[in-house]
Symmetry: C2
Subunit: 425 residues, 2 copies
């Protein structure tokens, strides 16, 4: 967590989603915090000018990517068995795999691989689902802490409509959650617990009520799933008949969070205007998971509309409905999906530009962590240094085109350095 200056081709988003491009420029890191970007060395304030200068030459330097929704235990079956829709896919693939994490030796093996791979990925911050198992979830948190990434990790609550091998009683779930929260206290610097009801169909009203009270009492964050699939939405309406919709079924217990302690809701593919207004009011973060929504045939979320409406949106891999740990892949799929939304669903909703997608992958999701996802003065210093020299062309290509091209050609680029809150990892 030192003081240094990185030199290279620096790209980052504004709050208005403009891409800022600084060719052959300098970004200053002081104790984990960015002190801004400067085109000319002599413009760096004199306080910082004698920091170590690390010259990354032709490399691209971008903020770390923020994965707002990823299921660590599902990493074991990423990339296969994707010919089913959500509810069948959960029963046939996900639940049997997650049940294995009652075995701590299996968890040790599987979570070592996950933590290793996410450490070496484009991701610097992540918000992570574990399983219902307290011990395995603590183990996952230990591994995330060691990885150097900064993350929220949740022990999942599942008290109904779940297979026996992956089901808790309400009492059991409450006491396991309490113990888990207690055991996380003072244990981590970079890893925070987050309340994690799987989704409405998996949690009894009483469970949700307890989680809602606990959220308020302890000032905790929440993560869950919302409006992903038509059959799921219909089921929620049957399960919570008093609710005005899926989002409202969470909100009854305050589980959409508040501006101070926001919740993350993954997907929101079918969130109508009323639900979107609710998300906006509560400051909820939508975790847009474009690949997951394609792979499970869920649909396309109206992200461009949400951004216009001022809803918080971040990007996510949603492993293993998303197939890969690569957030770069999600950037391009977000754009591509939004083009089909424009073509087939609503011609009035402009597709996402590359700048829009880059924004949600960095600053959009970064906001969940505070001042994260930009190089502006005062932001926590998360950075990736990318070597794209394997992508060759006859003519010189502009820096802004190079970062777009890198996202579309992730097979050909290398991450040479990675910093999280100023720490090289």
């Amino acid at each position: 967590m030192g003081n240094f200056i990185l030199k290279g081709n620096i790209i980052f988003s504004d709050a208005d989603r403009t891409l800022n491009v600084y060719e052959n420029s300098y970004v200053v890191c002081e104790n984990g915090i960015s002190r801004g970007v400067f085109r000319i060395f002599d413009d760096i304030p004199s306080t910082y000018r004698d920091f170590e200068l690390i010259d990354k030459k032709e490399s691209l330097i971008i903020p770390g990517l923020v994965d707002l929704h990823v299921h660590a235990p599902q990493y074991s079956f990423r990339g296969f068995n994707m010919d089913e829709e959500l509810l069948d896919w959960l029963n046939n693939n996900t639940f049997p795999e997650e049940a294995k994490y009652s075995n701590i030796e299996y968890a040790e093996k599987a979570y070592s691989i996950f933590a290793d791979d996410i450490k070496n990925s484009f991701t610097t911050r992540a918000v992570i689902f574990g399983t219902i198992h307290k011990d395995a979830t603590l183990l996952l948190m230990d591994k995330m802490e060691k990885s150097g990434l900064i993350s929220y990790v949740g022990k999942v609550n599942m008290t109904r409509n779940s297979p026996d091998c992956l089901s808790e009683s309400i009492k059991g779930s409450i006491s396991a959650t309490e113990e888990w929260l207690k055991e996380t206290e003072g244990r981590f610097d970079r890893t925070m617990p987050i309340l994690t009801p799987r989704f409405i169909p998996s949690c009894d009203d009483e469970m949700m009520e307890w989680l809602g009270q606990t959220r308020k009492r302890l000032g905790l964050r929440v993560q869950s799933h919302l409006s992903e699939n038509p059959s799921e939405i219909q089921w929620v309406q049957e399960l919570v008949p008093a609710s005005k919709g899926y989002g409202d079924a969470y909100n009854i217990n305050g589980m959409l969070g508040s501006k101070e302690n926001p919740a993350i809701m993954a997907h929101c593919v079918y969130s109508d205007k009323a639900e979107r207004d609710l998300l906006k009011k509560c400051g909820t973060f939508v975790a847009h998971s474009p690949e997951s929504n394609l792979n499970l045939s869920s649909g396309i979320a109206p992200i461009s509309l949400m951004l216009k409406e001022g809803i918080n949106v971040g990007l996510a891999t949603d492993i293993a409905a998303g197939s890969s740990i690569s957030m770069m892949k999600q950037i391009t799929l977000a754009i591509q999906s939004s083009k089909m939304y424009w073509r087939y669903i609503d011609n009035n909703v402009k597709p996402l530009s590359f700048a829009d997608a880059f924004y949600i992958a960095t600053l959009g999701g970064g906001k969940f962590f505070g001042k994260v996802g930009s190089f502006e003065d005062g932001y926590e210093f998360d950075a990736l240094v990318l070597d794209d020299s394997a992508i060759r062309t006859a003519d010189k290509v502009s820096v802004v085109s190079r970062i777009e091209r890198a996202a579309y050609n992730e097979r050909e680029i290398k991450i040479t350095d990675k910093y999280v809150k100023g720490m090289a990892i």
Copy 2:
């Protein structure tokens, strides 16, 4: 071009699109031709049993992938400037870049990179657009020949609606095409010329007529574009008012080809039943370019329907509307796009399975080249050996899941060996 036996985990498609999986098995190559796949060494016919045995251990062995539609000169701007639709994108990005290939030094530089990269990609066979320039196209053919891949390459014809820097007179285009065809005679073993009118909007009726006659006279193949974008389709109707549709506008001059000498038509996103019937009747190959169709907001082609109807379908990158040379990426995008077709366009058209997409990437497009795209006895031996050991999991994963996972996680796999018609390249 020797005789050898490869051992490993072998996967290939049937004509009925079933995935055949042979774990720890043997595939025999004799003088560039596959002699079939065998689970047990002793089942190999004795004639072949003393061929050199090359043990690829845990690797995956699959047929080479066939890219039915790729624009070599556009490789220079792959992966950026993708916020426009087809006709604007052509005018603003493509045409200015293609004009540069009048300069043979630029062509030398740019085509060296293209040939190098496609050689190292998942592609073993390709059908390639050059530019209008005869000399640059011959240079591209020389480079493709040296790469070891087997390909068709076309000098493009553009006689109307094109910028001055990229436009031919009808006479000029005919004589350049004649000279080009002459200069290709006897020059190549693995590289064939193919007639290449850019698309109806770029070719006068007289030009198309000459190309149609030349096709018949010399028994040549044809490649072009069909029904990619709504504005384009409307324009074609205005340009060829006598036609019953875009496909018919080609067919008037026999440019949809014949079963003996089929044509390739890229895209066919909006081909209705009448057009699809015409494609089937002519034996035309549809070059499905899912990423291109997403990137240019074109739409989603009804590939699943076409396969059911018995139309020839292959897969394609369509560089640079497709961003990357990777055919693996196209496999997954074909599946993902088809799921959105099912969700939003026609709930009666089943999405493509992984097996379907693997089929169109290998055997589906391979058929354009003859007996290509399978390891069945008698097929030309094109193979990729893939190392997926960087993709780690706690439990063992089946071979069929491993190849699906490799397609979705192309960043993490390596091509260790590549054979085209029995030749290691």
